[in-house]
Amino acid sequence: MSNRPHAAILILVIAFVTFLLRFLPFFVFSGKRKIPDYILYLGRVLPYAIMGMLVVYCLRQTSFSDVSLWIPQALAAAVVIGLHVWKRNTILSILGGTVLYMVLVQAVF
């Protein structure tokens, strides 16, 4: 656990940037200006790239030095993908993968 004042500052920063992104179009458009195409383009394609980055980010501490350290993640990730391709139900995919992962790290490995 890190220090609390820093955590509070981070929450404010995250809230502020989120707020800024939501307000920017309204602010910019009120002056009849146009948001640059490049920014619009990035706004459209970034979400897809960023999801890939977030998946890597979540799994960044995975170690390959021992099978028990990466097999649970790999199996659970495969189950999430499989469940989602099969049922396309977000809650089911998340719950299924998480429960499997918890069982694996607690009882198997």
Binding site: F23, F29, L42, G52, V55, V56, V80, I91, S93
Partner: protein
């Protein structure tokens, strides 16, 4: 949800407030279930990382952006820098620009409701309000406000319930952190299935893995975000170069050939 309902109320000019409240409430029911559950997951995760109900409450009240709050748990717990956190928020929430752009007209004259409507423009609230013609213009401000407010109240209550529950979970919660990984893999898979162009998704995945290998787990995020931005800019620049005559809309037809915004959690 509203597929078969006809816009019967467009003639009744000013509806009773109680009727507006009911309408807004019914509209938000699908979001109710999702926000309570995903919110609870967030609260449990926060507690699991040493941040109690008040921290959870503050996040859901002030940040109010689902995916980003899950990322925030990690940023808080790992003591990330202000710069990393700000850039991460910028990248993860960039899609909100789109929601704003398509709501400029609709939210433009909603007076006192406007600031909160803009603040509360999450993926789900946007999806409920962007195509809603079912309400007379006189009441639109109040109606949109209520839909937004109901949605946030589900999110805040769900996450606080999760945070309160976390201490009393009747099972060993080791490994519950994987819920965040599972959430992002699910969204990634969903985007993969709904979108034909896999280049952005692959760019993100491969650039991040490369940067992770090169820079290590504690400092790969900023290089990865820069690298991703550069990679994504290449097709844009190429398309722009291919159409030098069209000064006003450089590369728009070639690159922005999809009208709808991104599918997202």
């Amino acid at each position: 949800m509203t597929g078969e309902r006809k816009p019967v109320d467009t003639e009744t000019r000013n509806e009773k407030p109680s009727k507006i409240v009911m309408k807004a409430f019914l509209k938000t029911l699908p979001v109710f279930a999702a926000y309570e559950i995903v919110g609870m997951g967030f609260g449990i995760l926060m507690s699991h990382n040493g941040y109690g109900p008040l921290w959870t409450f503050a996040c859901s009240l002030f940040i109010y952006a689902g995916s980003m709050q899950y990322v925030a748990v990690d940023l808080l717990a790992g003591g990330a820098s202000v710069l990393t956190s700000a850039l991460m928020t910028l990248m993860v929430n960039a899609r909100h620009l789109f929601y704003g752009i398509s709501m400029v007209g609709k939210y433009g004259n909603m007076g006192k409701f406007r600031p909160y409507l803009i603040f509360g423009l999450t993926d789900e609230t946007y999806s409920l309000l962007c195509d809603d013609a079912d309400i007379p213009a006189e009441n639109a401000g109040l109606y949109c406000f209520l839909v937004s407010l109901f949605d946030q109240s589900y999110w805040v209550s769900g996450s606080v319930i999760g945070a309160l529950m976390a201490g009393a979970l009747p099972f060993n919660s080791e490994g519950i952190d994987f819920s965040m990984t599972a959430l992002f893999i699910t969204v990634f898979t969903e985007q993969w299935l709904t979108n034909k162009d896999h280049r952005p998704a692959l760019s993100g995945l491969l650039a991040s893995i490369l940067c992770l290998v090169l820079f290590g787990e504690s400092s790969f995020l900023i290089p990865a975000m820069l690298f991703i931005t550069v990679l994504l800019s290449v097709p844009y620049a190429a398309a722009r170069k291919a159409q030098p005559a069209d000064e006003d809309r450089p590369g728009k037809e070639a690159v922005m050939n999809k009208e709808e915004g991104p599918e997202y959690e």
